[in-house]
Symmetry: T
Amino acid sequence: MTESVYKIIELVGSSPVSWEEATKNAVKSAGLTLRDLRIAEVVTLDMKIGEDGKETTFRARVKVSFKIVSD
Amino acid sequence: MTESVYKIIELVGSSPVSWEEATKNAVKSAGLTLRDLRIAEVVTLDMKIGEDGKETTFRARVKVSFKIVSD
Amino acid sequence: MTESVYKIIELVGSSPVSWEEATKNAVKSAGLTLRDLRIAEVVTLDMKIGEDGKETTFRARVKVSFKIVSD
Amino acid sequence: MTESVYKIIELVGSSPVSWEEATKNAVKSAGLTLRDLRIAEVVTLDMKIGEDGKETTFRARVKVSFKIVSD
Amino acid sequence: MTESVYKIIELVGSSPVSWEEATKNAVKSAGLTLRDLRIAEVVTLDMKIGEDGKETTFRARVKVSFKIVSD
Amino acid sequence: MTESVYKIIELVGSSPVSWEEATKNAVKSAGLTLRDLRIAEVVTLDMKIGEDGKETTFRARVKVSFKIVSD
Amino acid sequence: MTESVYKIIELVGSSPVSWEEATKNAVKSAGLTLRDLRIAEVVTLDMKIGEDGKETTFRARVKVSFKIVSD
Amino acid sequence: MTESVYKIIELVGSSPVSWEEATKNAVKSAGLTLRDLRIAEVVTLDMKIGEDGKETTFRARVKVSFKIVSD
Amino acid sequence: MTESVYKIIELVGSSPVSWEEATKNAVKSAGLTLRDLRIAEVVTLDMKIGEDGKETTFRARVKVSFKIVSD
Amino acid sequence: MTESVYKIIELVGSSPVSWEEATKNAVKSAGLTLRDLRIAEVVTLDMKIGEDGKETTFRARVKVSFKIVSD
Amino acid sequence: MTESVYKIIELVGSSPVSWEEATKNAVKSAGLTLRDLRIAEVVTLDMKIGEDGKETTFRARVKVSFKIVSD
Amino acid sequence: MTESVYKIIELVGSSPVSWEEATKNAVKSAGLTLRDLRIAEVVTLDMKIGEDGKETTFRARVKVSFKIVSD
C-alpha cells in the first residue's frame, strides 16, 4: 500500500487590503496548476510602503502543501 | 509578600473571516473557565483550504497568559 | 456558529526501544483523560545513557493537540 | 560612487481593529520624522485583553527600514 | 512495564530581587498542586520598569516538568 | 569550468511504521522524476492520531537535495 | 483617537556583580534621555573573563521599550 | 486587478573562489529557465575541504525569488 | 564544596538501520575514551542516499554530555 | 564607578563587489556621526538581481555596537 | 603573519546560589587546563528541583572561547 | 561492521581580507592536529572595527567536522 506524499512550495502573495487577502492570492495562483491544496503556513508578513509614504501593500510569504501521491 | 505568578496555555482558534477573529475565538473559549486573561501571543498563523479549494479557514495558534497567584 | 478550538499540552514520553514508541507512550497517557487527540508534534528527541553506559532510554518531547470546542 | 545605506528601527504599533492597522499606526508615527520609509517587517503579533475580558487591542511589533544614504 | 511520562507547564514568576527568586516563586506556586517537580527551564527573562523608573520587577518565564506516570 | 548546482525541494512522507520509513517514502516519490538525489534533511517529525485514538501515522517533513548542474 | 506607539532600542549593560545589575545599568543610561520606559527584555547574557582569569564582568544585552506616542 | 505573486526556490551554488561567486552560479543556473529573478537570500554558507586538506570549495545555500504573476 | 561540571561534545553517528542505532554508535565511540556519559541530545537528523538511489544511511548529529568535575 | 554601556543599531549596507565591502559601507556611514564603533555582527546577507539579470548588488544587514557610556 | 584563532567548548556549571556562580564554576574548571579564556556566552539556564521540592541547583550551560593561535 | 563517526569542533578564525580567508585560517589551525577534515559550516560572521575606526578584521565562527571512526 503506498503512503500519501505531500510537496511544499513557497510563495509570496500581496494585497492592498490585508494579509488574509495576500495569502488567498498566493494560494489562488498555486491553485491554477496544482490540485489537492491543503494548508498555507505563514512564514513571514510585511508591509511595503509606497514612494509617497501613503500607498501600502501587505505581503504574506507562505508555504503551501499539496498532495502528489495518494495513499 | 507573595509575587504574582502567571500561567501560559497554548490554544488554536479558527475563523472563516480573519486571524484576528480566530485569536478572539481562542481567548473566548479560555475565558469561559479562566480569570485575569492578560495577553494572547501569536505563535503561528495558517490557512486551511477546503476540499473544493474555495472555502478557507484562518487558524491562529496563540499562547494565552492569565494570573494564578496575585501579589 | 462556534468555531472549533484546540488546546496543546507538552509531554515527555520514554521507551527503551525507539522514539516512535516513546511518542506513543506520551499520547497513550494523554488519551486516558482527553478525547479528540489529533496530532503529536516532536519538539526534541534525546537518549538517556544508564550508569553502566549500556542501558539506554529514548525520550520524545512532544506537543499534543486535542479539541476542546467543536464547530 | 557611494552605495545606499538603510537604517532599521523597531516599533510597536497598536489598534483596536486589526494587525494591519496597528502596523500602519507604527509606520505613520515613524513617517512624522523620517523620509524614504521602505518596508515594515512583522517581528511578532499579540492581542492585549482588557480588564473586563472584552476590550481587546491588537499590537504589531515591526522593523521599519528607511534610507539614510542615497547611492 | 509502563514508561514514565512527564508533563510540562509554562509559568511566569516575578521578584523584586533576582531572576533566581522569580524562578523559585513560579516553582513554589506549581508545587502547591503538583508532585515530582523535576526541572524549571528558563524560556525568557525580562525586567519590568515601574512608572517612576525606579522600582523594578524581575520576571522569569519558565517551563516546569513534573512526573504524571511512573515507570 | 561550470560549478555543480543543487536544488532543494520540501516533501512530507508518511508511514504507519516509523519516521525512517516515512522519509524513505518521500525520497522514493521524488526519485520517480529526479536523478542524483543526495541527502534528505529532516525538518520536522509528527505523529497523526486516528479518530479511534489507536491507528497512528508517522510523518516526516524533509528537504531533499539533488544535482541540477554538474561540474 | 491616536493609538500608543512604542520604540525599542538595544543596549548592552555590564556589572562586576550580576546580570540583574548589568540590566539596571543599561536601563539607567537609557533613562537619562528617555521617558516612559516600560520593559527590558533579555536578548543574551555573557561573562567577560579578565586577562588574569580572575576579574569577571557580567554583560546583559537587552531590548528596552519606551512610549513615543500616547493614546 | 490581480496582485503580483512570487515563487521561491532553494538552490546550492558552489565556487572555488568565494561565497559571492557561489551565489552568482546558483542564480545563473536558475536564470536559464526562469524570468524576473529578484533577490537571492543566503540561508547558509559552508566550505567543503578536499581529501588532501588543501583544495576548498565555497558553497552558498540561497533562496531565489522570481515573479510568476504580474500585477 | 566543588559543584559538578559537565562538558558537551558534538558527534555525528550513522547507521543503515535507524536513527536510534546511529545515536547509539555515536555514543559508543565517545564511551571508548570518556566516563559518566549522561545524555545524547539530537541536534539534527538526515538520510544519505546512495549513488544508486537505493542504499540509504541514517545520520544523527548529537550533543553528548559527560561529567568532568564531580560535586 | 559607572559601568560601560553600548548601544546597538541595525543597518543595511550594499556594494556591487562583495559582502565585506557592503559591511564596510554600512559602518562608514555610521562612523560619520558615532564614536567608539566596536563590532558589526552580520544578521543576514542577500544579493539583489538587476532587471537585466546581470547587474547584482550584495547587501549586508548588520548590527553595529558603539559605546555610549564609558566605565 | 598568522591570524589569531579561538576554540569554543561547551560546559554546564552548577551552583546552589545563582546562575552567575554556576557560570564562574564552569569557567574555573576550564581554567585548570586552558589559557587565554576570553568570554563565556550563556546558551541556556535551568534550575534543578531536589526530591523534597526544596533544595534547588542553578545550572548554566555556557560556551567558553579561548585562544589557540596568537596573531 | 563499524559505522563512521564524525566529531565537530567550533573555531573562530580571522583575517584582514575576507570571511573566506578567516574560514581557511580556522581550518588550517585545526588541520595541524586533525585528519580527515570534511566541512566547515559558518555559524556567524562579524567584523571587528579598530580603535581608529579604520583597521578592520573579518571573523568567521565555524563548526568543523572530521572523522574519528572509519566505517
